[in-house]
């Protein structure tokens, strides 16, 4: 205790209590104080003549009369029991007996009692056990016992015959409550075990039907490819894209296939895609955890027209297999995505040497993408779209600046989000090099200050204006920065994300909106200053989609017209 800051090993509970500032000594001191006060009370009680009976209920907090029947029987009974034995709790049963005796013998105490009890609630005025009372229902005289019931309306007690009548109803109530509780429990268990009663959803029924009848694919009729793509997305979202339903989409003539969820498609099925669809030009596989080296070498062999290849989450594929794959077909690739997978600096080097024609490259969420890897990318001269976001290794300005100097002029899309070491040097490199940039993502770059953003967009005459700008979680961005953004890109901006830019004020956002002419999509989530007026203004200026999560000032009164979407209003969640 005396050595502050030095602790031995502790249990989680001790740690929790310390964090909350709960201290054993304080609790003990409080207890002692309470006990002292109680002692003092009882002492005065026993010393003043004839008033010990009144002092006892005063110190106890339990009501001394039977409770109204609104409570369940068990509770009523226990309350009644405690009513009978309340004093016993503190001072032992002897006192109860003494008290009862005194009540029976000293009738003249009653006046004193009333005087003392004026400050207390009605409950303490109710007749004591053993007294005579009149039934609240039939007005007959009876002796109060610990088992006497309180009347329905709460004033007065019931005589035993009347009490017995209500007891039946009470029992029935309890039984029903118990049954309800049991059903609820059964339902909860079923929900947990995923065995629900009742029919399944129409979506599930359709998916099951399609899966069961997959052999007769022709019978499903021809739907246009857009609809089929949408159905593929629906299946993926339902997590029911598996070996059976996959057959719907492996149409031999098709040149494009995107599977948003391959988690339930086995390795052999993945391979069969290449066998069924030799014409494929575009292939996208998400959550491709079952893809192996084998699959990749098979694709390299069987897909001669592949131009665009996107692979997410292929953890099993080794860097060596990737290298072989790119050596074989890298020259024909124009668009490539490798995210959430194993990589080495050598692999990145292989990509840059074997895929010289790449125009779009996405290397997001890689664990080992560092400055060395980034330096290799400078040789990709045709690159127009680059995404190196969320690398787990450190990428600094020192690598980004030379990269942008060599290929920045060609880039139209740049995503640098989630690289926490980047500073204003990067934004000034973007300012200097990226003349054709249309889409920029600077989300989650905590070191960027408002002045960095301001100077990026001030006098950026090289650039004609951005179409899409994401500045999510740039907590330092303020009104001036936003002003600079719209002064430069206001006429072209279609998508703007200022989520969590907490420094923005209502006036700043409205001023910014006033200068945006083509804005269609706006995310102002967690900008607390945003209110109904701002949202209405945005919708009035042609914005068709607004996200307002965490904007508590946007209320149900906000006028939302037809055809526009406002996501995340607090009232909608209630």
């Amino acid at each position: 205790m005396s050595r502050r800051g030095v602790h031995g090993p502790n249990s989680a509970l001790t740690e929790f209590l310390r964090e909350k500032g709960i201290n054993a000594n304080q609790i003990r001191a409080r207890f002692l104080a309470r006990e002292q006060a109680e002692n003092a009370n009882t002492n005065t009680g026993s010393s003043s003549a004839d008033s010990s009976a009144t002092a006892t209920p005063a110190t106890s907090t339990t009501p001394t009369a039977p409770t109204p029947p609104a409570a369940t029987t068990r509770r009523t009974r226990s309350a009644r029991a405690s009513a009978a034995t309340t004093p016993a709790k503190g001072k032992g049963k002897a006192r109860v007996l003494k008290k009862r005796k005194r009540e029976d013998s000293d009738d003249d105490d009653d006046d004193d009692d009333d005087g003392d009890f004026n400050v207390f609630d009605y409950a303490s005025k109710a007749p004591e056990v053993g007294q005579q009372a009149f039934c609240a229902e039939c007005d007959s005289r009876f002796k109060v016992t610990a088992y006497s019931k309180a009347s329905e309306d709460g004033d007065g007690l019931l005589c035993p015959p009347c009490g017995r009548k209500s007891a039946k109803e009470e029992k029935e109530l309890v039984r029903r409550a118990g049954a309800e509780k049991r059903t609820r429990r059964v339902q909860a268990r079923k929900a947990l075990d995923a065995e629900s009663a009742g029919p399944r959803s129409l979506k599930d029924l359709c998916i099951k039907f399609v899966a069961d009848h997959i052999r007769d694919v022709e019978e499903f009729g021809d739907l246009e490819s857009g609809v089929m793509q949408r159905i593929c997305e629906i299946l993926a979202r339902n997590r029911s894209l598996d070996s059976a339903t996959l057959k719907l989409f492996t149409v031999p003539q098709s040149e494009k296939l995107t599977l948003h969820d391959c988690a339930r498609i086995e390795t052999n099925e993945l391979k069969s895609i290449a066998a069924f669809m030799p014409q494929l030009r575009h292939l996208g596989l998400y959550h491709a955890g079952s893809a192996t080296d084998d699959v990749l070498s098979y694709y390299a062999e069987k897909l001669p027209h592949l131009e665009s290849f996107h692979l997410h989450g292929a953890f099993l594929v080794t860097p060596t297999a990737y290298s072989t794959f790119f050596t074989q077909i890298g020259h024909q690739l124009t668009s490539l995505t490798l995210s959430n997978t194993r990589n080495t600096p050598t692999l990145i080097h292989t990509i840059t040497t074997t895929c010289p024609n790449l125009t779009a490259l996405n290397l997001s969420h890689l664990t080992r993408l560092d400055n060395t890897c980034i330096s290799h990318l400078s040789s990709l001269q045709f690159l127009t779209s680059l995404d190196i976001s969320h690398s787990a290794s450190e990428i600094t300005d020192a690598a980004i600046t030379p990269l942008l100097e060599s290929i920045g002029s060609g880039l139209t899309h740049l995503d640098l989000s989630g690289l926490p070491s980047l500073t204003g040097l990067t934004t000034s490199a973007i300012h200097a090099c990226c003349a054709h940039l249309r889409s920029l993502n600077l989300s989650d770059l905590p070191l960027l200050s408002a002045s960095d953003i301001t100077s990026l967009f001030t006098n950026w005459t090289k650039n004609r204006g951005l179409v899409k700008l994401q500045m999510k979680h740039l907590s330092l961005v303020d009104d001036d920065a936003l002003k600079a953004v719209v002064a430069h890109s206001g006429r072209s901006l279609e998508v703007l994300n200022v989520n969590s830019c907490a420094e923005l004020t209502k006036e700043g956002v409205m001023e910014g909106l006033a200068r945006c002419e083509r804005l269609g999509k706006l995310d102002v989530g967690f900008v607390r200053a945003v209110d109904d007026e701002v949202v209405e203004m945005a919708l009035g200026r042609g914005v068709s989609w607004v996200s307002v999560w965490g904007c508590a000032k946007v209320t149900a009164c906000c006028g939302i017209g037809r055809g526009v979407t406002v996501v995340g209003r607090e009232v909608e969640g209630l």
């Binding site: 009663a197 009742g198 029919p199 399944r200 979506k203 009848h213 949408r230």
Partner: protein, 105 residues
């Protein structure tokens, strides 16, 4: 028909994009959260005021299947042994899946 539906708060009129009308019990149709929110009085949507929903994205055969599903669900709600539905046909299965996703049911 439409005037009748307007007055009748127990049912709702569903209209397909080719003009076919289906008068459905409101409690059954509200199985779909999409329809439920369309009919929510607080939203003040035209659908809620007129008690009539026009589905641009559904043809009559598909909407008919949807209505059949609503009654199928209403009938077997909470029951243990639910028979397999017999109204899904191969030529409409995919369209129905598409629509079911829209209706979120």
């Amino acid at each position: 028909m439409s005037a009748e539906a307007e007055n009748d708060q127990e049912s709702v009129l569903l209209v397909s994009n080719d003009g076919f009308q289906f008068l459905v019990k409101k409690s059954a149709a509200c199985k779909s959260p999409t329809i439920r929110s369309m009919l929510d009085k607080r939203s003040n949507f035209a659908e809620a005021r007129e008690n009539r929903i026009h589905f641009e994205n559904m043809t009559a055969p598909v909407l008919e299947k949807v209505c059949q599903y609503f009654y199928y669900f209403d009938k077997y709600k909470g029951m243990k042994d639910v028979p397999e539905p017999d109204f899904i046909s191969p030529e409409l299965a995919l369209e129905l899946l598409f629509v079911a996703d829209f209706l979120d049911c």
